[in-house]
Amino acid sequence: MRSNVEAEPKSADGATTGEALLEVRDLRTYFERPGGDIKAVDGLSYRLQRGRALGIVGESGSGKSVGVRSLLGLQPRGARIVSGEAWFGGRDLLAMSAAQLRQVRGKDISMVFQNAMDALNPTLTLVQQISEPLLWHGICGKSEARTRAIAALDSVGIPEPERRVDMYSFQLSGGMRQRAMIAAAIVTNPSLIIADEPTTAVDVTVQRQILSLLRALKDAGSAVIMITHDLGVARYFCDDIVVMYGGKMMERASIKEFMAAPKHPYSQALLGSTLVIGDRRDRLTPIPGAPPDLSRLPAGCPFHPRCGQMQDADACREPQQLISLGAGSEAACWRVVDER
């Protein structure tokens, strides 16, 4: 599976891929356990173009975080990438050595985390942290790096950046801290930004500021992968969506198509159980049960024991193939064929 790093990417039909900035094919990341592998990510494929945002949506344990962290070699300890390719700028990230990946991380691809308090180092000033990728990658010298750090803080809307650049992260408010972390992520002008639940820990008003900020970066040509469990955030920010459940990809579609007509029963149930203002139903229609334990996944479709549309248990217990529904839309449920 692991081809050499510089090979030209080929899509499934053999043609070279066009304008995709990132193309992930059949990524599988497993935790090896004596009783059998825990398949945290089991077949994840998507393409992402410049200036677009892909939302990866799922509940806890769906593999959405491990999936993107695997691209940068940041998967948790004990996790092993057992197969897959991730073509980024003509090179396969998954075939790179640790040293090669370090040249990409924080320069061409950077990450924005959920909790800035944890992601920033409390013993270093902002200028030390924001200029670190510039200095480490040898992009510029120290005084230039300081200028760029101030400019980055300014671009994320932090007032008085010249003064705040010498402050520590704990001296900032929560919203400002989150913005400072984004400043550190964008100071090298990366072409891909991976944001892992960037607004989950912040207030709704701050959420809008952070999303506006990320949108400006997207409009300037960066691509964004946004991991979220919030379909409202995905709808507002993303162009395309991948839905994960139990480590598997359930559906992939443009956000418009997904919101208008979700194809997979899990997607439908997820949208149906999301609370909205103005909902006049007397009782909510929750999804019964709980997300599965990855070490004891049901056979076939991981969602079938909770699925309200399960009509043929035998077919649901078979491994599901992603079925193409045209216009880049796919769903991993045998029933969508009937409906097509």
Partner: protein
């Protein structure tokens, strides 16, 4: 009309009167709750919304006397809580219970589910060991944790199931009042509506009086009949739920509503969140004014 008029509401289980709480921190004094007054009628569910640091959780903690107020008073069923010596708080505490945001953190990890639920009964010296277990099993059944699962330990349950156990425990003492502090916020989307349905079912069945704190407006709209909006320790707006969502009046309420990102309806536009500097709350001399029946808004003099 001023804030005091809200206290004339008849048949109130709780009267919160000019409540204030100041925390001393290294950075100076923080007014977590400032001059907050409202009542909670019997059988009513009040929703409290606000962002982090708005003082919404502190209000609940003061109502349950888990913390002492700096000023003002909390009257529970006709008795000023501050007048009760702490050693005699037990019988009052029995009548008010709480469900927390983090179910795992609120359960005893070395106690099984059934022992967790029976624990409040044991603390208050109710029943015998076997009657307590029986009652705990009944409550677990009520919240959907049946059979053998009752003898498992908290970590063996999913987050949603842990919250069910926490709810069963809160009901063990047959309280009149249930405070819920973000009970669904740490749960997966597919589980949140299960827990909300459960809370609503037990609330109706047992005619509980509730205060429900959440930053999620959709959750509050669903469970509450009246809503309090808090910002920087102040109550900025209070109205019946339909009225608050239909005619939000305070700029901060409008911001909260505009900032929500729904999954249906018109797509929110980038600039739709109004600009308003909440620090004006620290400066202006303002009070709650009743602009329509039961609809109070904090307006500068």
């Amino acid at each position: 009309m001023s804030a005091e008029s809200t206290l004339t509401r008849t048949d109130a289980l709780f009267e919160v009167d000019r409540l204030g709480k100041v925390f001393d921190t290294r950075g100076g004094q923080v007014r977590a709750v400032d001059d907050v007054s409202f009542t909670v009628g019997r059988g009513e569910t009040i929703g409290v919304v606000g962002e982090s640091g708005s003082g919404k959780s502190t209000v609940i903690r003061l109502m349950l006397r888990l913390q002492e107020p700096t000023s003002g008073r909390v009257v529970f069923d006709g008795t000023d809580l501050a007048t009760i010596p702490s050693r005699r708080l037990g019988p009052v505490r029995r009548r008010m219970q709480m469900v927390f945001q983090n179910p795992y953190g609120s359960l005893l990890p070395h106690f099984s589910a059934v022992s967790n639920v029976a624990e409040p009964l044991r603390v208050h010296g109710i029943g015998t060991k076997s009657s307590r277990r029986e009652e705990a099993l009944r409550l677990l059944e009520l919240v959907g944790i049946g059979g053998r699962a009752a003898d498992l330990y908290p970590r063996q349950f999913s987050g949603g199931q842990q919250q069910r156990i926490a709810i069963a425990r809160a009901l063990a003492l047959e309280p009149d009042f249930l405070a819920c502090d973000e009970p669904t916020s740490s749960l997966d989307v597919s589980i949140q509506s299960q827990i909300l349905n459960l809370v609503q079912d037990v609330q109706r069945e047992l005619s509980l009086t509730c205060v429900f704190v959440s930053h999620n407006l959709a959750v509050i709209e669903r469970v509450a009949s009246r809503v309090l909006v808090m910002c920087r320790g102040r109550l900025v707006e209070m109205a019946p739920t339909d009225r608050l969502f239909g005619e939000p009046t305070h700029p901060y309420t409008k911001i909260l509503l505009a900032a929500a990102l729904p999954i249906d309806g018109a797509e929110p536009i980038e600039s739709s969140v109004p600009d308003w500097d909440s620090t004006v709350l620290d400066k202006a001399d303002a009070s709650l004014v009743e602009i329509a029946p039961d609809h109070f808004v904090r307006i500068a003099q």
